[in-house]
């Protein structure tokens, strides 16, 4: 793959947050980024699981804060959401736990939830509560470019990196605007659809990564429909990294525990290390 990935970036010390700095660092070293998604509050050992996957080779970790109506998510993450909510998970309980374990987690984290969770708490308060918990980034998939401004301004002010999604359905003119407003990385959506493991990687995953790489220097990670180590390696022939949710959460739902989930993350890490250029 092209060395353009590792362009010497100006302003390395200033501007980039912890999440983006970590991902750029992996890329500059010639590696591919791996970011697993884990549902916060799912089971008794979710926090230990997060710490374990950090050790197993995650560059950063997405922590899902469950929402009652996750329209971007397929059955696996819906089920994880429902279970965590029925076990009493709240944004506050999850962030408090993450704050307490920040040193053990060791890699940057990003919270993924839906706009109403942030809106209900108030954008400013939600952004500062993320910062207080040591969370670096935030992904709110139902805030598209046109609606993200109010939140993203609050997040910027609190030092929280707002990661924007870029979909395969977006026309060309839209992509540079998304990349410019995104922080941390650009989240390329692998297919037109919801989260979940598919038998094969969609052609749109690589295509979307290539379209994004052509217009931005920011790390481009692809998720949604990336469910196996082989699929992650395939998309990373173009992308700077992969985000994997449902496959990881399936392990959590099966009760694999910290070691079981970490073992799967290690498989992804190995596949991406073998694919490094």
């Amino acid at each position: 793959m092209t060395a353009a990935n590792g362009t010497t970036a100006p302003g390395e010390a200033g501007g980039w947050g912890r999440l983006e700095t970590a991902l750029r660092g992996r890329r500059r070293a010639g590696g591919k980024c791996f970011v697993p998604y884990l549902t916060g509050g799912l089971g008794d050992d979710w926090l230990e699981t997060i710490c374990a996957v950090a050790v197993a080779g995650a560059d950063a970790i997405e922590i899902g804060v469950p929402f009652s109506d996750p329209v971007m998510d397929g059955t696996t993450i819906q089920q994880a959401n429902d279970r965590a909510l029925s076990e009493g998970a709240t944004p506050q309980s999850i962030l408090a736990a993450v704050r307490g374990a920040a040193a053990d987690i060791g890699v940057p984290t990003a919270v993924m939830t839906y706009a109403n969770i942030a809106h209900h708490m108030g954008y400013e308060r939600f952004a500062s509560s993320l910062a207080d918990a040591g969370v670096s980034g935030c992904i709110l998939p139902d805030l598209p470019l046109e609606e993200v401004g109010e939140w993203a301004d609050c997040a910027d002010a609190a030092g929280v990196e707002t990661v924007l999604l870029a979909a395969p359905t977006a026309p060309d003119e839209r992509l540079p605007r998304i990349c410019a407003r995104s922080r941390g990385f650009v989240y390329g959506v692998g297919l037109a659809g919801i989260t979940g493991v598919r038998a094969e990687l969609a052609a749109s995953a690589v295509r979307t990564a290539a379209r994004l790489k052509a217009v931005t220097d920011r790390p481009v990670l692809v998720g949604v429909g990336v469910g196996t180590p082989a699929q992650a390696a395939e998309v990373c022939e173009v992308a700077d990294g992969a985000v994997v949710g449902s496959a990881i959460v399936t392990r959590m739902l099966e009760g694999a525990g910290p070691e079981g989930v970490a073992a799967l993350v290690a498989e992804f890490r190995a596949a991406l290390d073998a694919a490094r250029h």
Binding site: P70, M72, T90, A115, I117, M121, D142, P144, V189, L191
Partner: protein
Amino acid sequence: MTETAGSAPGEFMGEPDMAPPGQFMGEPSADGRFGEFGGMFVPETLVPACQELDRAFRSAWGDPAFRGELDRLLRDYAGRPSPMTECPNLSEELGVRILLKREDLNHTGSHKINNVLGQALLAQRMGKTSLVAETGAGQHGVATATAAALFGMDCVVYMGTVDIARQELNVFRMRLLGTEVRAAETGSRTLKDAVNETLRHWVAVADTTHYCLGSVMGPHPYPWMVREFQRVVGEEARRQCAEILDGGVPDVVTAAVGGGSNAAGIFAGFANTSAALVGVEPAGGAAVGRAVPGIVHGSRSFLMQDEWGQVLEAESISAGLDYPGVGPEHSYLAATGRATYEQVTDAEVVEAFSLLSRTEGIIPALECAHALAWVSRARAELAGRTVLLNLSGRGDKDVDQMMGILG
């Protein structure tokens, strides 16, 4: 047009000074908002589809050929205009003069057909070959299935499993019409979850499939577009009232509100008159009544939610109103004071259902029985006034359920 000199406004009468009348129920702002409500809160993947729909609707709505074809369908297929019925027996019993806008007499038995014919015609114009829709009571599902059959389009309708159980006749109707009914088995397994499933379906197939949304909710342009497709109810009613009331308008225009499409349709004909507008919500699904804004299903509007912003499950006897949100324009009408929103209990609704059946020989859908339940409760306050009530649907679908309750 002369308007009836309203006597002293009751508490349900709007505050006429809060905003100039000409500004209500027009086009939303460029970012799809009515005041601070509305917007396009959808995943990136769906933004191009919503923007395409916005462009297509603007173009079609300004095209006389499209309008002419829709008018023809509404007349020859749906049976418009729907009549307006004076209710002498009911009026005498309540001491309030009541006029009913008879949307129950439309083809498929409710106002839903107005919106669906508009959207199906638009979908065809956009080159879409399939429709997908959510349904609660099944009225919108049946209307969408009907339009799909008429236009030769494939159709999938999502319905919560709780609603499938209480509205099995409508499930059969949809299947008879060639539509695939899919069960929404997550969450509360009612309308809210059917909307979630429909959005999840649409995100993967938006290039070939139009989401035929059934109410004045969802991302821009739906709240505006659906209201415009329902505006025909209000415009007809305005003309019919003028004939009956000697050029005047009623003192009060009332309708049930779940998502709020039948109310938006009839309000649109009177938003800029002296008539008070009263929406009636079920007590167990009163999004406007609680007045806490939130973001779900594509727009910012009043939303029933817990202390963390998790959406609450609505609880209503009527599947069609069993929804924790409300269309954003209703939030705006409430916030500006142009319309007021009342709540009624299931018990009051059951009583109103019987009342209209007994006094006028009209069995109403449980949804519009909510509006009558409010009129009945407020009869002292409304004494001597003229009230226009949108009878949005017929009660055949509810007879089975009511037999269980009234025995």
